[in-house]
């Protein structure tokens, strides 16, 4: 009994180590290859479960994928790991930013009204991008033909901007004194 428990612990350490150093997921067939003796699939499953248990509350988790088992960083640690090799954060296109600015400063207003200000069409993709980000929403409908939706920015948008209310948006009052360049820069 004593020795079998000891063996079990040893098997578990070997499997855990193999999973931690392997660049690819390992399936049961791979794991069996680690040992000279034939291991029962049942035992392997028990050991894998024990490893999962042992890693509760740690930074990695043992996950089963289509191609096998693999350790990966838990979702909640990703933000820290991202900092190690920060990828350049993606940027929204000018079209998205302008649409957002118009809705933020002038909403609620319809897509047609946004297009009027921008002078160009606002694609469905732009609206979808901002809706999926949960930064804009339809808060009502204009009683004109087609009953177009009225877009406004959301509370989540203000939260993400670190603002308490829309009145905290950078004031545009001093615009009159600004020398507006002929061409939108860049």
């Amino acid at each position: 009994m004593q020795s079998s428990l000891h063996d079990r612990q040893h098997i578990q350490t070997i499997i855990e180590t193999a999973l931690l150093v392997s660049a690819e997921p390992l399936n049961l067939h791979d794991l069996k290859k680690l040992f000279a003796e034939e291991l029962r699939a049942e035992l392997l499953h028990e050991v894998l479960e024990a490893i999962q248990q042992a890693w509760q509350g740690k930074g990695l988790e043992l996950v089963k994928l289509a191609s096998g088992w693999r350790f990966r960083a838990r979702l909640e640690y990703q933000p820290y790991l991202e900092r190690l090799n920060p990828e350049k954060p993606p940027r929204y296109s000018r079209a998205v930013m302008e649409t957002l600015a118009i809705i933020a400063y002038k909403g609620p207003l319809t897509r047609g009204e946004i297009e009027e200000i921008r002078g160009v069409a606002v694609s469905t993709q732009i609206v979808k991008t901002l809706e999926e980000r949960n930064w804009i929403e339809v808060v009502g409908h204009r009683e004109t033909p087609g009953r177009p939706g009225l877009y406004a920015t959301t509370k989540a948008f203000l939260d993400d901007m670190g603002l308490k209310s829309r009145s905290e948006l950078p004031p545009l009052a001093e615009l009159g004194q600004l020398i507006v360049p002929e061409v939108a820069d860049q």
Partner: protein, 270 residues
């Protein structure tokens, strides 16, 4: 080849035991053997060791004689490599001939002893050869151990673009610059809260039901907000977005979405 297996040369885990013991060796064996040496210094070291010679007192004649036999074999087989061995042979012969000459002037100061130079090179090479062996004995990544390599799934987290209020202002400015509609779109800060309040009221009424007018006002957040809310209601009415109704004076005022008027009867019909 009479000796039992006993490694004589360092060949990284492969001890060499089948080396010829003297000069009388068939050329084929020589060829195989010479491939195992890393050059003339290596071969010379072997010969010195093999004959149990004092490394600091190399008997040039014997070593050179043997050496020439090897070199001859090399020359037949592999001319390019032989050049280095020939160079060494020339050096050995030079040393030998010097030693045969009677020493006339005793140590002319800086006249260097070619023997000393050879010994220095042999020692240095041997040192590096041993060091190479030692390094090879160190546990080596990939060969003797594996690095940890758990998975960090970058794609699991979609990185969203970051936007700051200043970016918004920039976007707005660019817009204005392009449209040259500066005056039309000048927005005063206080107007912002009105439009924000308009959104809030529209959301509140989104269900389509009537709301009591007073419900639109949050009395706990100060007079300015009440005023702004009131202006928002007026603005929404003006834009035809909400309908305000009162059956009789002093009766509660009800508000609902203007669109609900069109939508309600249809809803009731079903």
């Amino acid at each position: 080849m009479s000796h039992p297996a006993e490694p004589i040369a360092l060949l990284f885990g492969q001890p060499v035991t089948e080396l010829p013991s003297d000069l009388y060796i068939p050329p084929d064996a020589l060829r195989v053997m010479l491939e195992r040496f890393e050059g003339p210094l290596d071969l010379l070291l072997y010969l010195i060791r093999k004959q149990n010679l004092d490394i600091l007192d190399i008997p040039m004649a014997r070593v050179t004689a043997q050496y020439m036999v090897y070199v001859e074999a090399m020359r037949v087989q592999q001319l390019e490599l032989a050049a280095e061995y020939l160079l060494m042979a020339a050096m050995l012969i030079e040393i030998k001939s010097r030693m045969l000459l009677p020493r006339q002037t005793v140590v002319e100061g800086d006249e260097h002893d070619p023997r000393a130079e050879l010994v220095r090179r042999l020692l240095e090479y041997e040192q590096m050869k041993l060091a190479a062996y030692e390094i090879d004995q160190l546990p080596q990544a990939g060969r003797d151990f594996r690095w940890a390599d758990a998975w960090f799934d970058r794609e699991m987290v979609v990185q969203l673009p970051e936007v700051t209020p200043l970016d918004l202002k920039q976007a707005w400015l660019a817009l204005l610059a392009r449209a040259k509609h500066t005056k039309h779109h000048t927005v005063r800060p206080d107007e912002l809260s009105v439009r924000e309040q308009m959104s809030a009221i529209l959301k509140l009424l989104a269900g389509g039901e009537y709301r009591e007018f007073s419900q639109l006002f949050d009395t706990t957040r100060g007079v300015p907000l009440l005023v702004v809310s009131f202006i928002a209601v007026l603005e929404l009415t003006k834009e035809g977005l909400i309908a305000v109704s009162q059956s009789e004076p002093y009766q509660p005022i009800y508000v609902r979405l203007a669109s609900a008027e069109a939508a309600m009867p249809a809803a009731e019909a079903t």
